[in-house]
């Protein structure tokens, strides 16, 4: 493998409690190559989102990234960035789609304003320039640019999700973190969106860190997959290997719990 884009090393994250701490991520290491889709799977609460947050350094107290953890993006230590560098780093280099994209748009701001925010902060665009760029991005995700003056609640869930993705791609980031971007959507919409992302990825060449608990979907979409259990990364391999020849018991168990469309149970 050539030089990885993202390299997470020995990442350990605790949630500090009143008396005891909770280790949400335990010594996790993985790499994501440029243009690659890396999937993180595991059951609820195993620490997937915690990792995603750490990459953009979005954690707030009481989350604590333990000393010794490293997150390198393009060989730059993300954890050492100062506030200005961090501000510039966020969204330009790593953008993020959240678990509930439905709620990640500010309900009282027009869509346009939420684009403008990013474009102005990072590229210093004027309103007019930003509008142009917004239209461009919306077209990319199949949303009529005329609707940019609408408020989020006027869009359906799938549309909102696509808007978030459009905002994500507005600056052409090197990496997009997607934290269960489609859980709330039905399969048809889910499929539509993932296909769109796949196309864009091919066109724009960003890497994706893809988080979901749907293993079937993950195998379809990802190049490599990491399986998490209780904060630990228990298995990491190419998608096909995870599918065909799971090594860890937990991975096997996961597959065993999927009823398939055509047989009894998968695997």
């Amino acid at each position: 493998m050539n030089q990885p884009l993202l390299s997470v090393k020995n990442l350990t994250i605790d949630y500090i409690g009143d008396e005891t701490d909770f280790r949400a991520v335990d010594n996790v290491s993985f790499d994501v190559a440029p243009g690659e889709v890396f999937g993180l799977a595991g059951e609820s609460g195993c620490g997937k989102s915690t990792i995603a947050f750490a990459i953009s350094r979005l954690h707030r107290p009481p989350a604590l990234i333990r000393t010794g953890s490293e997150i390198l993006l393009d060989s730059r230590e993300v954890l050492d960035l100062n506030p200005q560098e961090l501000a510039a780093f966020r969204w330009r280099e790593v953008a993020m789609v959240f678990q509930s994209a439905m709620n990640s748009l500010n309900p009282v701001l027009r869509v346009e304003a939420q684009f403008y925010d990013v474009l102005k902060t990072h590229l210093g665009m004027t309103k007019a320039q930003a509008r142009e760029r917004t239209a461009e991005m919306l077209k990319l995700v199949d949303i009529n640019p005329d609707r940019m003056r609408d408020y989020p609640h006027q869009f359906s869930g799938g549309m909102r999700q696509r808007i978030v993705i459009a905002i994500c791609l507005a600056l052409g980031p090197k990496m997009v973190v997607m934290d269960e971007p489609t859980t709330a959507l039905d399969v048809v919409v889910q499929r539509e969106i993932l296909q769109r992302i796949n196309e864009l990825r091919k066109k724009l060449g960003f890497s994706v860190l893809f988080i979901t608990h749907d293993l079937g979907l993950m195998v379809q979409f990802c190049d490599r997959i990491g399986i998490m259990l209780g904060g630990k990364l228990v298995e990491q391999n190419t998608a096909q290997a995870i599918y065909r020849t799971p090594q860890h018991d937990y991975t096997k168990k996961l597959w065993a719990s999927f009823p398939s469309l055509h047989g009894g149970v998968l695997a």
Partner: protein
Amino acid sequence: MSETILALDDATKTFGHGAATVYAARNISIALKAGRALALVGESGSGKTTCARMAMLEYLPNAGRVLFKGQPMQDAAAKEIASYRRSVQMIFQDPFASLNPAQTIAYHLKRPLQLHRPEIGKAEITATIRELLQRVKLDPDIIAPKYPHELSGGQRQRVNIARALAVKPEVIVADEPTSMLDVSVRLGVLNLLNDMKREMNLAMLYITHDIATARFVAEDIAVMYAGQIVEWGATSEVIDNPQHPYTRLLLSAVPNPDMRFEDGGSDMQPDHVDAVRSLSARTDGDLIEVTPRHFARVTAKA
């Protein structure tokens, strides 16, 4: 063929009025039979829950009937409703929300017994509760005194099932019973439902958006879109030989690890999807029996 226990007959339910009328369910006819499960699948907002609620008499259809053993239930007397309540039980989607956080598991199981099986004496209640918990493979000594938040999602859903079974129902309505559960425990719950259905000869309405689990649980399947049933028939028949474009679209969108996006898994064209949607949303046309006991809605080409 086993007897039909509960049926919706040409039931329609609307919300709002005037221009804002939403047809949550339109001319729905379904029949639940003893020992068989009917799966309702379809995208979010297609009216699945509405059907379930009508079946539960939570609200009455604006048009059409709810038939319980052939008896229309819309204007049944309170007494009949009470016996209906005892015969038709529901399992909810969210195992967190469907148990009262302020009451113990034992309480949850005790209430239906007290309400609907007065023949069970005080002393026997505890024994019955133990029995119920054991049946859903939970350890009564550990689980009964606990509060819902002390249980895992899978355990909670089992408690829900036990509660539904407590009154010895004839019909179970399960609205997405596993969608909130972790993948690893899903199958266990589905297996349990399957077993119960067989052992107790229950009629079951199984609602899901996951066609794969529908196949696992249900003998029959009905596909809904925008408040209408677009296709229904035996599960294997519908999945292997889909007739309606929306059913096909739905099947093609189901994640399939055997098909990488690169390998042609990404063949859903937006134009095609839109076309299917607008076609499926049309309200003209009828359910036509395509092959024996396999119906699909046929709409005249525009």
